[in-house]
């Protein structure tokens, strides 16, 4: 049971993280490197998103996906896809915001200095990603941390269906409310282990950055 729930958690969180990184990193680089009208409004949205309560995000997704709602025809409510969607909305601002901060912390003239060397655009992007590597890893870890420990949104849109949408956090909540503390503690230990693994990874990254 624990294995199945853990794998399900990793599957849902992994998928959400993958999409969040694919969108958030390019978006963060773009927002960090370019100056255009409306940029600060977009940055404010990202910053607000970084602090948005997950349960509210879940409620928003649920309001879209419920039957008779705008996206109700997709029949995604109480599916893993709905959970991925909700977690994506939680992780995306985190990944974007931290990437943006990493790009913004580079020397103001970084892009000009690389451009003057005649480096082609794609190679320039690669050099930029190399330069902000510690920031990117921090963005990924923060995104994963944000969705791995989250319970409100996945409960709302996933419904904690056994073998389908049950993940570590929703399972802990369920077992605890049923008084089955042994199972709850076992699952909590697994979740805690995953989080500790993330913390260790983050510390390593920060140390590499400082060296």
């Amino acid at each position: 049971m624990i294995l199945e729930v853990t794998l399900n958690t990793l599957l849902v969180c992994g998928a959400a993280l993958l999409v969040a990184v694919s969108i958030g990193v390019p978006l963060g680089v773009w927002l960090g490197a370019r100056r255009f009208a409306g940029r600060s409004a977009l940055v404010s949205v990202v910053n607000a998103g970084m602090g948005a309560p997950p349960v509210v995000v879940g409620l928003l997704v649920a309001l879209l996906l419920w039957r008779h709602q705008p996206l109700g025809f997709l029949e995604l409510m109480y599916t893993r896809t709905a959970m991925v969607l909700a977690q994506l909305l939680i992780a995306l601002p985190l990944v974007t915001g931290i990437t943006l901060a990493a790009v913004a912390s580079l020397d103001e003239e970084w892009d000009l200095q690389v451009r003057t060397l005649g480096v082609p655009p794609l190679w320039r992007l690669w050099l930029l990603l190399r330069e902000i590597r510690p920031g990117l890893l921090a963005a990924v870890i923060a995104g994963l941390g944000g969705i791995l420990s989250e319970v409100g949104a996945v409960m709302l849109v996933g419904g904690n269906l056994e073998g389908e949408t049950r993940v570590l956090t929703t399972a802990i909540l369920m077992y605890a409310s049923m008084g089955r503390f042994e199972q709850a503690v076992g699952l909590a230990a697994v979740l805690l282990g995953l989080m500790l693994l993330l913390a260790a990874l983050l510390t390593t990254v920060q140390q590499v950055e400082r060296r």
Binding site: D107, E109, W110, L112, Q113, V114, R115, T116, L117, G118, V119, P120, W123, L127, R130, E131, R133
Partner: protein, 357 residues
Amino acid sequence: MSEARRPSLEACGLRVRRVSRRNCFELRVDALSLDPGELLAVIGPNGAGKTTLLQALAGLLPLEAGELRFADAQPPVLVFQRPIALVGSVAHNVRSALRGARLERAAVAARVTEALAHFGIAELAQRRAHGLSGGELRRLALARAFARRPSALLLDEPFEDLDRAAQDGLIDDLERVTRRAGLAVALVTHDLRRAVRVADRLAVLREGRLEQIGALDEVLQRPGSPRIARLVGMTNLLPGVARPAPSGLAVDVDGEHCIETRAPPGAFAPGAPVWAGLRPEHIKIDIGRGAGVPIGKGAVERVRSDGALCTVALRWSGHEIQAHLVAGRGLARTIAAGDGVLLSVRPEDVHVLPREA
């Protein structure tokens, strides 16, 4: 032969506008060219647009108007005042600059080795670039730019924040490498002494305009305006009126003191208000009789030495003027405030400028 004489870099009718919330700055350069192997120093006060000029020449700024032409279609490379180090080794930094050059692996390796050796950092090739000292990073930035084989190198305050020894070493290496490679260099600096040391030509930039450009000696000895005169170290500007004299033209400072010049007699009408411009190093101070034509006695007010140069501030005909002596030698060892000295200057060293009455 005509190929060899083609300028490395040419700018015609350049107009660049930089608008920020606080101000709007416009750079206008009608014509500027750099020949292979020549070193042009651009000086100017803060906010004159020196960095903007270099960025425009490097093609990094959108042009409102004008045209840039580079020899062999190789754009110049700009080395910024605070060069960045890319994550990775020193060699990786130079290699990265060659990504767009479509060279074979062996050619890239050869260029990296050559560029690092030229700037004396071959032994640092495998070091992390982020761990370099300020001087080493400057050398890396120059090697990185040089490896591109650009039409010209554009250097923004390349010797800033370096100690004297590091500056001297870098200037020597830069001169040797660029002269040997026939590479044109334009550098901006606010330090006239460094500009004088390396430049073939000197340009004076002010408020986005090139006020004067010419051979180094020409600009230093014959500045186009009192403002430029002060900027290029002609600190003694004495107001007077033009008088015909046997040598050509004299500047009558106060009826009693007259300075002979070699300016052509017809350059200024008799009685026209003018400035007599004198470089401090051209004023001879002597207890007895100095070389050149005496201009009268002066009283020493202050003596300051920086170890190499001794600056003597004198009161002469009611004006404060400055003269330079080589520190620690001859008169410089004994001269003190309160001394009365005889001043003289060679007429050919006096530069006459028009003055508004």
